[in-house]
């Protein structure tokens, strides 16, 4: 092993997306034969950094040095030519062709196509990396499990013998057996002198694999620790510690009856969820990406079926089979993907606001335009939606105003429970604090509110109580008084629950 050779050094990497500073002065050093773990909360900048390494984005500032020479990548092909491969978390697999063709998809044009030779070479490679038992070279792409798809993506990288490989949460779709195979593969790469970056949320894995750990927070570089000289708590402290003062602090509203109670609710996405929300209460749901938070919201909203357990609303067991059932039960749901799942971008503010309550502004089947416009105007005023008129197309509004239109749609139903999935994602600071104020006001009017958020300070700022999810389960419940970022992050990265 050649431990001290720095294969890649990134210094002062900066990347802005409009006014958003995704990365500011990030440092990363990858050494030949070493595994460097890259850690940080959701949105800390890990993915952006990997995209820069892969040549997807060009950095606005800073320098990439490979083997002592500065490099710039215009596209992923440049990165590959420099011997650097980034393994995607959700690989693109061609369903209609075999594993062998999927692995060598970029080379087929150059080397000519000989199916037999290709299959032989694939089998040799799979054997070399100890993966021949879990995947067949001639299996079709469409037959592969998520774990096998991930293996194909890893094989795509290793067959070109790169000197630097970056893994982006490779174990999120793998089972126990495949994880141990992957670790063996990483050890082998390491022994051959490959420099490895490894992004993961799972502490146990990181302590098992990594030599060094680099921590990012809010797009900035926090520090790099040697694995023998650090521990779990220290890493969590490095990852959190954001300034809370910019976030909303609210006075809790008086609590009323229990509006929502989940009793051991489960389906293909979530498992034995117990959760209660009372009138006037704002309940936060925290967790890492993929913990099952959005799926839980969609289950309560009736978009995913409940297969085990029961949903109790205001003391009555309700069978919710489709969204209209949950609407009838007094539930409003603003999904995470605002544009894809909530808005009619080609229609007016008026149309969007009245979508669910169209009947109430109609006589028989005829929409009463004046009543409808009055409804939209009412919410434009109350939520301070900045739009030239009720007739403006929603697609022309800013993100914050679009989100307010979604809120207007559900407030018009006079809900007793509101489910808000990432209500402030992608909207500016001013609109964020307005949304917090709306949530606070609703709670004081006795509405029960559930807020899913990946921003810990946001969850801490607005919630009366917080559930933390990991691996489709609730891994812990924290009251406002005892909630800290450290505590929530520790629960969110609960390895026992994940495994």
């Amino acid at each position: 092993m050649s431990q001290d050779v720095v294969a890649l050094r990134a210094t002062g990497i900066t990347k802005n997306f409009g006014p958003v500073r995704a990365l500011r002065g990030v440092e990363l050093e990858l050494r030949a034969g070493e595994v460097t773990a890259l850690m940080g909360e959701n949105g800390a900048g890990k993915s952006t950094l990997l995209k820069i390494l892969n040549g997807d984005y060009r950095p606005d500032g800073g320098e990439l040095i490979i083997d002592g020479k500065p490099v710039t990548f215009g596209d992923p092909a440049d990165a590959r030519a420099a011997g650097l491969r980034v393994i995607a978390q959700e690989p693109e697999i061609i369903g209609a062709v075999s594993v062998a063709e999927n692995i060598f998809v970029g080379d087929l044009g150059r080397v000519g196509y000989n199916r037999r030779a290709l299959l032989r070479r694939t089998r040799e490679e799979l054997k070399r990396w100890g993966l021949h038992r879990v995947i067949r070279a001639d299996a079709l792409g469409s037959e592969l499990s998520p774990a096998q798809r991930q293996i194909v993506e890893i094989m795509r990288a290793v067959v070109s013998r790169p000197r630097i490989i970056c893994f982006d949460e490779p174990t999120s779709s793998l089972g126990d057996e495949e994880v141990s195979l992957l670790f063996a593969l990483i050890r082998q790469l390491q022994a051959e002198g490959t420099a490895i970056a490894y992004v993961s949320h799972r502490m146990a894995e990181i302590f098992q694999l990594a030599d060094r750990i680099t921590v990012l927070r809010d797009g900035g570089y926090v520090g790099t620790e040697l694995v023998g000289e650090t521990d779990h708590d220290r890493l969590v402290r490095m990852m959190v510690g954001r300034d809370l003062s910019q976030f909303f602090h609210r006075e809790p509203a008086p609590l009323g009856e229990t509006v929502l109670e989940l009793r051991a609710v489960g389906n293909q996405f979530v498992d034995s969820i117990d959760l209660t929300v009372r009138a006037g209460e704002v309940v936060g749901v925290a967790g890492l990406v993929g913990a099952g938070r959005s799926e839980l919201m969609k289950t309560i909203a009736g978009d995913y079926p409940v297969t085990t357990g029961e949903i109790v609303i205001s003391g009555k067991v309700r069978r919710i089979r489709q969204p209209s059932d949950s609407i009838r039960a007094g539930i409003g749901f603003a999904p995470e993907e605002r544009k894809a799942e909530a808005l009619l971008l080609q229609r007016s503010v008026r149309d969007n606001a009245a979508l669910v309550v169209l009947r109430s502004v109609s006589r028989w089947i005829f929409v009463r335009p004046r009543a409808e416009r009055a409804l939209a105007q009412d919410y434009i005023t109350r939520l301070r939606i900045r739009t030239p008129s009720t007739e403006q197309l929603v697609g022309n509004l800013s993100g914050g105003n679009q989100q307010k239109v979604v809120l207007a749609r559900w407030l018009a139903t006079k809900p007793r429970l509101l489910l808000l999935d990432e209500p402030t994602r992608g909207i500016d600071v001013g609109a964020k604090s307005e949304i917090y104020a709306i949530i606070d006001e609703l709670a004081h009017q006795g509405v029960a509110v559930v807020v899913v958020s990946s921003e810990l300070p946001e969850v801490l700022g607005i919630s009366d109580r917080i559930y933390v999810m990991a691996g489709g389960r609730i891994s812990g419940e924290v009251t406002r008084a005892e909630a800290t970022e450290e505590r929530i992050l520790a629960l969110a990265m609960d390895d026992e629950v994940v495994a």
């Binding site: 999904p335 007739e391 022309n396 909207i427």
Partner: protein, 316 residues
């Protein structure tokens, strides 16, 4: 139907552009009258009207008979059948789907209306039977799409062949029955009301009905919603499946009316000759009329201008 990906938040730079918002923008008073007129009609419709005007002018110069009243009536009746199909196709497209089988349904109902009339000698039964069969065809389309989870294009492509096959089978591949002596069918084909041919009245009636439903009712608004964003519609409590099946049934019914008109015009039930290729003309007319093929967007008035455009050139 809709695959919007989440992108960066848009900046509302176009917020006050009068073209994107001709109705409610407060700037309305300051727009010159000509521009307001153009936006009211729609820019693309203007180009269509100009195109029609040019075609009409050229034909009119070459053939002085073109502008005579009888010829204009011929044009009107020629566009009535494809116009009907274009109107309902517009609704289907706004819903985010497509119905390729309308021509076959028209053929099938043309044959059956004539056959039922011949065996019962009741025009009313012939008409009712044909409409019932059209509705049933639409129900089949809708159920295949909803319960078979088949893409609407594929599903109706299959039933295009299937309905055509059934029409051939029951008619032995020949024109069936004779309706040329029945007063009702004659009235449909050649009669007039207030000097305007009956065929045109039928088209106008269906178009106005479609316009009212799309523009002023909860049903129409939900059709736009489903076509614009089916996930948002589902989460908003709209029963999407019911709308898909319903719209296809209505389409089947209107296609049946078109089939009855074919029978009336030719005097007998035509399994294929009167209806072949109508589906493409209808889709073309709907698309030219401004219906966005990805759904959720489209004019509610009948796309009669494009169909008249093609009608003019064909009769000339």
């Amino acid at each position: 139907m809709n695959a919007m990906t989440r992108k960066d938040t848009p900046v509302s730079t176009t917020a006050t552009s009068p073209k994107t918002d001709p109705r409610g923008a407060p700037e309305d008073d300051r727009i010159p009258p000509l521009k307001r007129f153009v936006t009211a009609i729609g820019v693309q419709n203007i180009s269509l009207i100009i195109a029609i005007a040019i075609v009409v002018a050229i034909i009119g110069i070459q053939n002085p008979l073109f502008f005579t009243v009888p010829n204009l009536k011929v044009i009107g009746t020629a566009i009535a059948i494809v116009g009907l199909l274009a109107v309902v196709q517009t609704i289907v497209i706004i819903l985010g789907a497509l119905d390729i089988s309308v021509g076959s349904i028209a053929g099938l109902t043309s044959v059956t209306s004539a056959m039922i009339f011949t065996s019962t000698s009741s025009a009313a039964l012939g008409v009712l039977g044909a409409v019932a069969i059209g509705v049933a065809c639409g129900l089949v389309n809708g159920c295949i799409i909803v319960f078979g989870r088949v893409n609407p294009v594929i599903a109706t492509l299959a039933t295009l062949a299937a309905f055509k096959g059934i029409a051939q089978l029951i008619s032995d591949g020949r024109a069936q029955g004779y309706t040329g002596a029945d007063p009702f069918f004659v009235f449909l084909a050649r009669g007039t009301l207030l000097g305007i041919p009956t065929l045109i009245w039928v088209l106008v009636l269906v178009a106005v009905l479609a316009h009212v439903v799309l523009r002023y009712t909860t049903i129409g608004r939900n059709i736009y919603a489903v076509g614009g964003n089916n996930i948002a519609s589902r989460l908003g409590g709209i029963n999407i499946n019911r709308y898909i099946i319903g719209v296809y049934m209505v389409t089947g019914a209107v296609a049946a009316i078109a089939g009855i008109l074919i029978t009336a015009r030719t005097g007998s039930g035509q399994p294929i000759s009167g209806s072949e290729g109508l589906e493409l003309q209808a889709i073309t007319a709907a698309a030219l009329g401004g219906a966005a093929l990805k759904g959720g967007k489209g004019p509610s008035p009948a796309p009669s201008s494009p169909s008249s455009c093609s009608g003019c050139s064909r009769t000339a």
